[in-house]
Amino acid sequence: MAGSALEVLRVLVVEDNKHMRSLLRSLLNSIGIREIHEAANGTVALDILREKPCDLVLSDLAMLPMDGIDFTRDVRRSPRSANPFVPVIMITGHTERHKVEAARDAGVTEFIAKPITAQGLFARIAEILERPRAFVRCESYFGPDRRRKAQENYTGPWRRHGDRYDLQV
């Protein structure tokens, strides 16, 4: 896709499996993205992010020594983080509820369950580009607003555990 509007994007791929890294690179290349950095785990990814500005991160969840959740938490909260607002898409075969919630609470922007499809990945990137999320900072969290739909006029009862804590920290 020569001359693609997307060729200005810089992407970091964090994935411990070299074949999956290579596939993600090819998928990004197929839509015209050229500047792609690769890391095999969260520790290496943090080093790369400090040296090379990136517009988007695609990260696996299960990696050693640092997994995708700790990596995302560090990106969002570390005083040394180069870009705490960078969108992070987590791509993983781990779809257990507690892992998805942990990823969300670490500050992941979008979550994609493997198997990967081109349409699924591209739709998530398009969503991030078109509808960037507000960020929330409180004592216990920094990251994209975990509420997808804000209801400013909502007057009913609080339904989520921790709602009141979120609002008055």
Binding site: M1, H19, P115, F122, R137, L167
Partner: protein, 157 residues
């Protein structure tokens, strides 16, 4: 007490301007992009299948280590189907659901159920007609076995 701070998108650096973002999103949602992406996945099929075989060997070697079997099954679930190994992915998915259900029920997974899944998964991944009718039958039988085992646990006093 400190109120939470909400930072709207316009108040933090965006990767591109709104007009460029709209243009990029149109490109990403185009049939041409989907076709190119699908081709990229297909062309990686052979290499991904080699990686699936590596995972299957690791899974077989993990016998007895439930934590490791759990991890490898989850890796395989997504990986196999991306590699075009549909039956392998479905069997791995069934094993993952079994682990998840057992965790929800706070029950210990049955080693025989796990061994049957691992054996079927390894055979499917190495079969020439991976997604053939036999594989479909195996997937159904394993799902029935898991449903039966879960029903037994739920019915227990």
């Amino acid at each position: 007490m400190r109120k939470k701070q909400v930072i709207p998108p316009d108040d933090y650096p965006q990767m591109v301007s709104k007009s460029d973002a709209a243009k990029m999103a149109r490109t990403l949602r185009s049939p041409e992009a989907a076709a190119r992406g699908a081709h990229a996945i297909r062309s990686h099929g052979p290499k991904l299948r080699l990686a699936v075989h590596d995972y299957v060997r690791e899974l077989e070697n993990a016998a007895g280590d439930l934590r490791l079997v759990f991890e490898k099954a989850h890796e395989l679930r997504g990986f196999a189907e991306t590699a075009g190994l549909r039956a392998t992915g479905r069997i791995a998915g069934g094993l993952c659901r079994y682990f998840d259900e057992m965790e929800n029920l706070r029950a210990q997974p049955d080693k025989a159920v796990i061994a049957l899944h691992v054996s079927a998964l390894a055979r499917a991944a190495r079969a020439k007609d991976e997604a053939g009718r036999m594989s479909d039958a195996v997937v159904k039988e394993l799902a029935a076995l898991v449903a039966h085992k879960l029903a037994e646990i739920k019915a227990a006093p």
